[in-house]
Symmetry: C2
């Protein structure tokens, strides 16, 4: 079995964006009619919109995608806390419909109704709904709800603790994933994404978060931003700070995905990060959609890079599915229930 731990619904039918446009337009002009939460998208339209993902799964030989709303679409800075709650529910409900249509291909991870300056305690209700009612197995956490200005507290501040308490109680991990960037200094997928990953890792490194929450787990996507490339720097910083080795300090709680779109990057990732901490992922259909003229294959066909690694079959199993089952413990139960149902 091959589990892709990082896919967003980037190909949702137009009525989703229309809902959002209307929702945001009403913030400026309240005379605009309130959009209906039940989107007029038929099951056939959903099926049609997912053909690309399903084809890639088949062609690339992956089985199951851990699937969440489009990251760039979360846009937590837009509107008010209420805007974010409503939009989040609509997005998560749509993921739930996808998962119901294709239970063998997708499992849900939820967006959270974050909002700048609003306590993450406001995310508990939606997280609980998604996990206990919709069968989701994790959440995406935006470390910068301002979408580019970073004025909220770091992920390691007690500000976030109410959310973490619920994550621990439900035994679900969080993928640290920024959304769009409204700061012209930061291109979204070319800078803000990777910078969010790097910033989060360093926040974890300098904190006591995992002493307070020994079972809390985060996946840092995009191969960990700059982190594995600078693993020596981080080992050195930890040493200068008189901290234990990174393995001991962080690697029971922090995992990296494989969304690195060339062979040398994947080679480095697997050389410096233990196989126990790497989760297979592609983020298809996502940030980079073309075919690499140097290889003739899609940049985001990350399974190909992993297939080239001289890893033991044990390590490959960890990366391709065993670590996912460990980091997302609810996955096993969800898969078992579906097995019985089918």
């Amino acid at each position: 079995m091959i589990i892709d731990c990082h896919g967003h619904y980037t190909t949702a039918p137009a009525p989703l964006a229309q809902f959002r446009d209307r929702q945001l337009a009403r913030l400026i002009d309240p005379a605009i009619a309130k959009p209906v939460r039940e989107l007029s998208i038929s099951d056939d339209q959903l099926r049609e919109s997912l053909q690309k993902q399903l084809t890639f799964q088949r062609e690339r030989g992956t089985d199951l995608t851990i699937f969440s709303p489009r990251a760039g679409g979360m846009s937590h800075h837009s509107g008010t806390e209420h805007t974010s709650v409503e939009w989040t529910q609509v997005c998560n409900d749509l993921i739930h419909r996808v998962v119901q249509l294709y239970p063998s291909n997708f499992v849900g991870v939820c967006q959270l109704p974050q909002s700048p300056g609003v306590s993450p305690a406001n995310c508990i209700e939606e997280l609980e709904r998604c996990v206990t009612e919709l069968g989701f197995i994790g959440c995406n956490i935006n470390p910068d709800p301002t979408d580019g200005y970073w004025t909220d507290p770091p992920l390691t501040d007690r500000y976030w603790y109410p959310l973490y308490e619920k994550m621990v109680e439900l035994d679900v991990p969080g993928m640290v994933h920024v959304s769009c960037s409204c700061n012209p200094n930061f291109h979204a997928v070319g800078a803000h994404y990777l910078n969010g990953d790097t910033a989060a890792f360093m926040q974890f490194l300098q904190s006591k978060l995992f002493q307070d929450f020994p079972t809390l787990r985060f996946v840092i996507p995009h191969g960990g931003g700059a982190v594995p490339y600078h693993w020596g720097r981080y080992r050195g910083i930890a040493l200068d700070l008189k901290l234990p080795p990174l393995e001991e300090l962080l690697l029971n709680n922090v995992y990296f995905d494989t969304c690195v779109y060339h062979q040398p990057g994947i080679d480095l990732l697997s050389e410096v990060i233990p196989a126990d901490n790497i989760l297979f992922a592609s983020e298809m259909v996502g940030a980079v959609r073309g075919i690499d003229p140097l290889t003739g294959h899609y940049f985001d066909d990350t399974k190909r890079y992993l297939d080239h690694l001289p890893l033991s079959s044990e390590d490959k199993d960890k990366i391709f599915y065993k670590n996912a089952l460990k980091v997302y413990p609810r996955l096993e139960k969800v898969l078992a229930e579906r097995e019985i149902a089918s």
Copy 2:
């Protein structure tokens, strides 16, 4: 010859910090006496403060360090534009004294008197003074004078063009180097540094800056932040944006240093970035000061990692000094003058 293109004066004698403390204290309490610009630091104190750098040069087998004021100390967000001008002159003058004392070991690169919201045109005078009067060969450019909140325009905005015009006229490159971070989300050397590098590269990628300034040159330090690790992502993004290949788009103007503190990182850097675009650097004495328990050598002894690479002697010469002479054309003249003087 081996040229280290990235060293900061992190070991300056105490009167420099005392000047700064007094300068900033006066902003709050104008009754405090104005500090004297001529620091009471003797030549012997300067020599004493540089023993570590000189010892490392000797032990590691490097010859010349391109030397600039401490990056974290620039702290451009502090005080007013005037504060920044005064502090910058004091810092640059001290570098000039270092270079005069050890002309075979150091050559100067200047800090600029940047200030949030102030046009970089205000940097022209100090750049000109440092280059034409003090013999400096380049400058450090802080892409985020707010030191962590990124509210000034990107490096590719016309806002910066007056400074670039002067850099082109003087034929000096800029190292893109953030300063400290006053944003608790960003640890300085563990996040803000690398994120600044990554953000700047992506700004260049999506701009027409080098069409407007074909001879403008930037060095991106710390091995280019996350960029080489994600070289496939950037090639893919350029392709999606219908841009030419990165080599053609950027590599006549953008260079990477080798401040990556472990062998796998340097291996990747040299695998994906052409030797023509890599400049040897260590940033000693800097961000990471310890000895790697895995190797028994200093993390920042980057020459060791490069010595292990299977590069041709031609490529090694480029990385160790030829590229530096190309990127910093004034260096050759400065060295020749010193040769005559000695």
